[in-house]
């Protein structure tokens, strides 16, 4: 067999392996996740002592799953987040698609904001939204300002939005509390 044919044959055979690839694992029966995140998230730029607090671990499975983010997008409408935040542009509540984060842009910060509520109108959803759905909402909220990879962020809208889908949003550099150690 001549070498070109051999290479073509091998690459065709190798491409058959791609059948085994799956886009993501759908978790249909989630286990209750770690609620200590709520108490560890940094909600202020002030630290006790010279060293900033360590960043708590992120449950990254939700930020890596296109299914979880699209569920978050559906819940964002169904749980009426859009009632105040519109489709990310803000209204009664602050916009979520810009780079300005009053209470932090890290997943733990947003989780805490949803669960605890915030002054001037953001209600607390503790117990009312199960934790895995809060994480799905967190992932979607982050995708609004392009903080998630493009292959995870929703690439289409269910309704006729004027706004492009999240996968097409430009990546913003968060300002405000980032939850990360400051320079």
């Amino acid at each position: 067999m001549n070498p070109t044919r051999l290479i073509i044959a091998i690459s065709l055979a190798a491409s058959a392996l791609m059948v085994a690839c799956s886009r993501e694992e759908r978790v249909l029966r989630p286990s209750p996740s770690a609620s200590q995140v709520v108490n560890e998230a940094q909600v202020s730029g002030l630290n006790p002592g010279a060293n900033p607090l360590p960043t708590p671990p992120t449950p990254s499975i939700y930020e890596e799953s296109a299914y979880a983010v699209s569920e978050g997008k559906t819940l964002f409408g169904q749980y009426n987040c859009s009632g105040c935040h519109a489709n990310g542009g803000g209204g009664i509540g602050p916009p979520l698609m810009d780079n300005n984060w009053i209470y932090g842009s890290e997943p733990q910060n947003i989780f805490t904001t949803i669960v605890q509520g915030r002054p001037n109108g953001m209600p607390s959803f503790r117990n009312r939204i199960p934790e895995y759905q809060v994480w799905e909402l967190v992932a979607f909220v982050r995708s609004l300002s392009g903080l998630l990879p493009k292959d995870v962020a929703p690439s289409r809208n269910d309704q006729l939005y004027v706004k492009p889908p999240e996968a097409s949003m430009p990546k913003q550099t968060p300002v405000g509390i980032t939850g990360k150690p400051s320079q």
């Binding site: 249909l28 169904q78 117990n127 009312r128 939204i129 199960p130």
Partner: protein
């Protein structure tokens, strides 16, 4: 052994074809009667064609042919050619005529089941959701609008207009006892008529693949006499009764402070979300989870705690409630007559 079990299976399928409740051959109203007539008309035409074809094959196979090794000389047979032309021509003509007759019958039946006129029909709005049916009896007066799920009550012998829409993907409304299939398409509203002439419960299913739990998306049409229907409607218009005992009061508290309140409505309380089915009169329904489970205390508790184990992928979240909270919640929900 395999052949035996297969024949048992085929027999079971054939038996269910003639006995099952969800069956086009058991019409309960004028539209489904027309559809059944068309079914049998086409069935007999096809049956005759089948028998004739098999007979022709049998006759051809019974003929004997010469098995000699030598090639026979080609002979001209003008008489035979003429006969063959006639036979083929007649067969094509009969086939075309039959097809046109079937087409004509289908169009006529389609016109017959398309509509009727009534000055004062009952109007029901059906909205397909993944994976349940929202049933609304619209009324210009908001507090006279009945909203329920998965159980469609209709008066016997009266034409009913069904308005269709979908909240997410394409579903299809199919209750063969009263009518054929009708797709529910998001963003597009259509209307059709149903009527049931005998009282009874007629099952229906979703007939358009709509996701993980498509197979568990059932509903039922309950046809009852006018007086019972109106009593049902009046009862459904009432807000939920206030809990009387300490346990049911605690149950309502659990409902209003946990995940339930994010999706469900109980009129008469602060719960008013339209994501899931309206639970104001949950206990008056026979089944829960879109005709998947009987509406009993045990099934309800199991459904609340582990809906993803019963219907994987459905939109209800698991609710790991404390035992006394769960008991109180189920007791409260069972009082919502």
């Amino acid at each position: 052994m395999i052949a035996a079990s297969n024949s048992v299976r085929v027999a079971a399928i054939l038996a269910s074809f003639f006995q099952g409740e969800h069956n086009s051959l058991h019409p309960a109203g004028p539209f489904s009667t027309n559809i059944e007539w068309l079914y049998w008309a086409i069935f007999w035409i096809v049956f005759v064609a089948f028998v004739l074809t098999i007979l022709a094959f049998a006759r051809a196979s019974a003929k004997t042919y010469s098995r000699s090794e030598e090639m026979l000389p080609i002979m001209k047979n003008e008489e035979g050619d003429r006969k063959a032309k006639w036979a083929v021509g007649t067969a094509i003509t009969i086939t075309l005529l039959t097809l046109f007759a079937v087409l004509f019958m289908s169009v006529i039946t389609g016109k017959k089941v398309e509509g009727m006129s009534s000055s004062n029909p009952v109007t029901i709005q059906i909205t397909g959701h993944q994976w349940w049916w929202e049933v609304t009896y619209p009324n210009p007066q908001a507090d006279q609008t009945v909203i329920t799920a998965n159980e469609i009550h209709i008066p016997v012998g009266k034409p009913v207009v069904i308005l269709t829409s979908s909240a997410d993907v394409i579903h299809s409304f199919w209750a063969p006892s009263v009518h054929g299939k009708r797709d529910l398409i998001p963003g597009y509203s259509s209307a059709f008529w149903i009527q049931a002439d005998q009282p009874g419960t007629y099952p229906g299913r979703c007939a358009e693949f709509c996701g993980l739990q498509h197979a568990h998306m059932g509903f039922s049409i309950i046809a009852e006499d006018e007086a019972t229907f109106e009593a049902w409607e009046q009862q459904q218009l009432q807000p939920a009764s206030d809990p009387q005992s300490a346990e049911t009061q605690h149950g309502r508290e659990v409902f209003l402070t946990h995940t339930c309140v994010m999706c469900h409505t109980i009129r008469g309380t602060d719960a008013g979300s339209r994501v899931g089915p309206d639970l104001t009169h949950l206990a008056s329904r026979k089944m829960i989870a879109a005709e998947t489970l009987p509406n009993t205390t045990g099934a309800l508790a199991g459904w609340i705690v582990d809906p993803q184990g019963i219907k994987p992928g459905n939109k209800m979240t698991p609710n790991p409630l404390a035992a006394d909270d769960l008991n109180a919640l189920v007791t409260y929900l069972r009082t919502l007559q």
